[in-house]
Point group: C2
């Protein structure tokens, strides 16, 4: 095939085998797969630049690909063309004296954390999946630790980005702060591969606190659990994680993990710092929970037990998905609402899935107002897909009517293009202008964020 021949002249690793095209044609969700014509695995920024310049000249679509864990179809090459698999750009360099690291776009957060850990440091952004750092920046990923540390945008100090025409840019610096001109770093973070291809990142690291405790608190109802979480966050306690799980999610989790967590609205909490500090903060949090009539408040001091708790929380999202028949794919809603609207939003969502007879988990990054309804769908079943879309639609409508957003952390991708117009219709012309400025031929991840 001519394209592959050409690409082999530009990069060392190029393929168009059936299996690699299939792998690069889908993500974790039910969004319809579409295969690329070729997959390129660049070894260097120079190769990325050559491939982009070539594709730009010919108007060939290019879709960046990392770990393939995106949840809104971002990595699906709906217009064919080239899947640019960045996983060979996996270098990691820790700068311990700067509390920062330089990493290739294809390095995973797990790899970064293993290297940072050798210096007593951590990269705390935790979306659950072991995603690549480039992919995490492209969707402005966040997750369970955002309440304490912030999401990707708070951690990206600088980026190397290749524009559609092959121009290589360096944004930011290795300094922690900058006010030098328009903050293009923050513009590329969350641009989902539509404005440029991120090839390298300078990332902020944090010390690993000397002591941590996880805790579980159960409540008589969702409202009390959320009130307690907001009060803890509002008290100024430096909580590391505060996650909401509803009763039915814990029931599904217990079935899946053969665990025995109390099946009541629950907060999973983590505190980290010095031992004395954590002890004080846990006590304060326990008092806040008691004031909201908590039914229980239990600790996990040992690292193994803490890890079990957070593994359970992570698996909660997939507990029902995992028990689905083979071939079923994942669906996760991702609205984020003002904190005061969260109890109502979670109740609304639970009512909705019960009414439709859908087995769904509901988990919330309650300190951020962001929650997910997760369930599984047979991608071949048009009625099931339509039903999933209706649930998602009603949840988004509810959030937008209450000052929220259609996506807290998964991004627009394919799945929320229409909602972007609904939520930010006034901003779409500006976004289109920026897209035209940086990618005038529209080769970068066409069809994502903005309609083609």
């Amino acid at each position: 095939m001519l394209l592959v021949e050409d690409l082999r002249g530009l990069a060392a690793h190029v393929g168009d085998g059936a299996s690699e095209r299939a792998t690069h044609g889908e993500d974790l969700t039910y969004h319809a797969p579409h295969e690329p014509d070729a997959v390129v695995y660049p070894d260097s920024t120079a190769e990325v630049a050559r491939v982009l310049a070539y594709a730009n000249d010919r108007g060939i679509p290019v879709v960046p690909f990392g770990a393939g864990t995106s949840l809104e179809g971002h990595v699906i090459p709906t217009h064919g063309g080239i899947s640019l698999d960045l996983t060979r750009l996996a270098h990691v360099e820790i700068h311990p004296g700067d509390l920062s690291a330089t990493a290739g776009a294809g390095a995973t957060r797990g790899a970064l954390n293993r290297r940072a850990g050798e210096h007593g440091l951590q990269f705390p952004v935790d979306p659950g999946a072991d995603a690549t750092l480039g992919g995490m920046a492209a969707t402005n990923a966040s997750g369970t630790t955002t309440v304490r540390y912030g999401g990707m945008r708070a951690h990206v100090l600088g980026l190397e980005v290749v524009l559609a025409d092959g121009t290589v840019l360096q944004t930011g610096s290795r300094a922690f702060k900058t006010s030098a001109g328009y903050h293009l770093t923050s513009l590329f973070v969350g641009s989902e591969g539509t404005l440029g291809v991120i090839t390298e990142l300078v990332l902020r690291l944090h010390g690993i606190p000397e002591y941590a405790i996880a805790a579980r608190a159960t409540f008589p109802d969702l409202d009390a659990a959320v009130r307690a979480a907001v009060a803890i966050v509002g008290s100024g306690v430096a909580i590391t994680r505060v996650e909401l799980l509803d009763a039915l999610t814990l029931r599904a989790l217990n079935r899946y993990k053969e665990s025995s967590y109390a099946e009541a609205p629950s907060l999973f909490l983590e505190f980290a710092g010095t031992q004395a500090g954590v002890t004080g903060e846990v006590q304060a949090a326990g008092e806040i929970c008691a004031a909201e009539d908590s039914l229980s408040f239990e600790f996990e001091r040992e690292e193994e037990a803490r890890n079990r708790l957070w593994e359970a929380r992570h698996h909660a999202a997939f507990a029902l998905a995992a028990s689905a028949p083979p071939g079923f794919k994942f669906k996760a809603t991702d609205v984020c609402v003002p904190l005061s609207e969260l109890p109502g939003a979670v109740r609304h969502a639970r009512g909705l899935v019960e009414e439709r007879g859908i087995d769904a988990s509901i988990i919330g990054h309650v300190g951020d107002g962001n929650y997910h309804v997760g369930f599984s769908v047979d991608p071949a079943d048009g009625d099931a897909i339509a039903a999933a879309e209706r649930v998602n639609h009603e949840i988004v409508e509810y959030a937008l009517a209450r000052g929220g957003t259609c996506t807290g952390e998964h991004g627009i991708g394919l799945g929320k293009v229409g909602y972007l117009e609904q939520e930010h219709g006034d901003l779409v012309p500006v976004m289109r202008g920026i897209k035209r400025l940086l990618d005038p031929k529209g080769i970068l991840n066409p069809g994502k964020i903005l309609p083609a």
Copy 2:
């Protein structure tokens, strides 16, 4: 005057008196003043939009103005035209259940904190001056608490922005997180009035911790002080402030405030949380300082003593400025470097001002790698200005050669237009493209950030 007549048809409060034109023609620095032709004090976003549409039609420059505390000449109408004084847009609404607030661009951080405090909440971004929130967003201000809470970009959830042609945009939402399309909020934050006029902000608030301690640690040399600070930040202790003052700065401060702080390289620290937590963290920090051979480590537990300490730190920046003859104006350098480069950078800067015989204070947001050399200059003395510029130039060169930035928090304004090209020459064409997209006639704060 025709302009003023026209403007009076568009807004209720318009003036062109000599005094108000002079006030709106300068900032705190030695940048040459230039008066606007008229000052408009809008009462509403609608008035801002009408004035901008009028100015855009006629190509009249518009320069937003807040508290006038900018440090790089941002608010000086170098091309004349309209100074848009936003201080009448001073409304503040606290959303305690959401840990957020909505504020007019002209509300000050002091006003917001007074209102937030009624609910046990705070807006922690503290650049020293009681700046307006719109101005703080426009320069991406940060300050002493950034090490714990982040700067403005971390706190702005949404903006109301009026474009040059009068179009009103709403970015973001009242939710804490969003991944909905390109993050225009982060683009307008730090755009210094050159891309749009910020009229309203949705801001994140934090709980006021129940207990706080300030501490002062002195060290045998700068390096030890900076190493201790980096170790404290890297330990995962949730420190609220960690400020570096060099020996000569403390000497000047003692003269100015009649205080008796030890005249040695010092860290001023603050810890906040629960009483038990703070006690643990202070102990850990004290041990880290002792490991760096600290000469002393003293606490201030009482609120009054803590306030005195932070007032002293704030005044340190202005201590020498305040003792200068009348008419002298302020100069502050603002580079930010990777943490490991900070001791060398501060030593280099102190050597430089000593060599030139300049009485300068040197203070550093040491947890961020950002430090300021502050001194006073007679704006009528061309040689003194040239000498100040040379000092600034050498400090910027030093920082850029070591992976830093020419401005950590003051912005580019007038004073650093050339350094933006030097630091981010590859990005300037993209910045120009964004400027043309949003302000095609170039009426918004011309001459700032990008050369006209």
